[in-house]
Amino acid sequence: MHIRAVAMILLATAFALPGCKFVKTADQARNAAANAFDPDKAVADIWDSKVVPYLETRGAPIKDVLTLAATDVDAAGQKYGYKAKQGNAPWTFIARVDGVVVAEETKSRAAYVDVDVDGDAKADVRVSLGPAIRGTALRDSLDFIDFNSFKNQIEWAQFGKSFNTRVNDTVLSKLPRENLTGRKGPALGAYPLPASGQLPQLVPATITIGG
């Protein structure tokens, strides 16, 4: 009984052969993997060619951004930032920070330096040093990226997080972590509209901590 059943299946397979294309299991797995969303690769593919040039073109001195935002947030957003056309996301601003570190917190996983850009010795902006980075400011500052072209918010979130991962791996992890106060910290990055009374929290795309 069993043998006959097996024979019949083989027979059926033999008949089905002409219309079939054999795919090796390994190839199948490779194809599936190729089709799966790879957020790190998606960011790597655009980082040097599109993201950094975009930020360099649009990034204005943070002093200018803060001054205009203080009187007219929407005007500042249109001039120096971006937000999705729909939904309720706040403006994300693109800015250059050029000033002196006046405070540092490097014990926390969400490390940062506070930077004074106008010479009054008071902090004007908080620059994230990672490895834990809040939010998705770098992704949200880009006008050529749209949530609607992603499958769902999970992939959108993974994509946003990959910007932070990349900055951590290639920039922030190489920075010094001690005695930063008093040093110069030129940076270029993005920050979401801060809550009133709070410092803007800038996620840098490029940063150097000099002497």
Partner: protein, 293 residues
């Protein structure tokens, strides 16, 4: 068999009534379909959508699918049968709901999704999606801050000095969260923090903790319910994350109205709605899933 026939007949009768005998003054109908109202979050969606629909001159048909895709499909049939002009839907599954929304579209009825998205675009007219990732991050960062970046807790990642001692599913239920928390406490009496995936579970967890005399355990929820607001105000739960259920339901009805009256679609189909952290500083401004400005 009998039931099916009766339903078919009822649907037929409804279609007939619409086609021939609908009085000229009858208001257009908007169907509002959400998960069970047992969770006040979904109730707030339904209430917000219904209020906006009535304000704009529609009749509202409020239905619940109980997170059952089959039931959702039947409710879509009901909406089609009743000749709804639009469907407002918090759906029963990102993949399972695509066919149901497509069915409505094929019947000429536009759908406006709220809270949860579906894994397809071009089927619904709009998808107003709660930004769960952004919201979860807000809640997690507040939790980390409250914990001082260290301690034993239930749920979470990325901070190595925080140690996850238990992760349990309580099916979004308050009573289940209460009993699970009791059990977790027996195994981990030194627990210092709890992150709950929604506010009803946070309420269950805090009740179990208080019953066990653990007054200092930090509990953070998600949704922004009035129950958790009151707990925050009385020093129980420390924080939650507001998903703007009421506002996004109203926004969906407004978009439906614009589409019905002028054929105008929103600029983007998928629209992310950011969440807001609620703690002792702003809990007083929270009412029925909306934050006063």
């Amino acid at each position: 068999m009998k039931l099916t026939r009766r339903l078919t007949l009822a649907a037929f009768a409804a279609t007939l009534a619409l086609g021939t005998a609908m009085p000229a003054f009858a208001a257009d109908l908007i169907a509002i379909i959400t998960p069970s109202h047992d969770n006040p979050f979904f109730k707030a969606e339904a209430v917000g959508a219904e209020a906006k629909a009535k304000e704009l001159g529609y009749e509202a048909l409020v239905l619940v699918h109980d997170d059952d895709a089959n039931k959702q499909s039947q409710l879509i049939d009901t909406a089609i049968g009743r000749g709804a002009k639009a469907i407002i839907l918090d759906n029963a599954g990102a993949d399972a709901s695509v066919a149901a929304v497509q069915k409505a579209k094929d019947a000429g009825i536009p759908s406006f999704l709220i809270d949860r998205e579906i894994n397809a675009s071009g089927v619904a007219v709009s998808q107003i999606v709660s930004n769960n990732y952004q919201g979860a991050q807000l809640g997690a960062e507040e939790f980390v801050k409250l914990m001082g970046e260290k301690g034993n807790y239930v749920e979470l990642v990325e901070y190595p000095d925080l140690k996850m001692v238990a992760q349990q599913s309580a099916n979004w239920s308050q009573t289940e969260a209460y009993s699970k928390m009791e059990t977790i406490l027996q195994a981990n009496p030194d627990i210092q923090g709890v992150i709950a995936g929604n506010d009803t579970m946070a309420m269950g967890a805090i009740a179990a903790l208080q019953a066990a005399g653990k007054k200092d355990v930090i509990v953070v929820g998600f949704d922004g319910s009035n129950d958790v607001r009151d707990s925050i105000k009385s020093g129980g739960i420390k924080a939650t994350v507001l998903q703007p259920a009421y506002a996004q339901a109203q926004m969906a009805v407004q978009q439906a109205h614009d589409y019905i009256t002028s054929g105008k679609k929103p600029a983007e189909e998928k629209q992310l709605m950011d969440c807001v952290l609620i703690n002792a500083d702003n809990a007083g401004k929270l009412e029925t899933f909306a934050l006063a400005q």
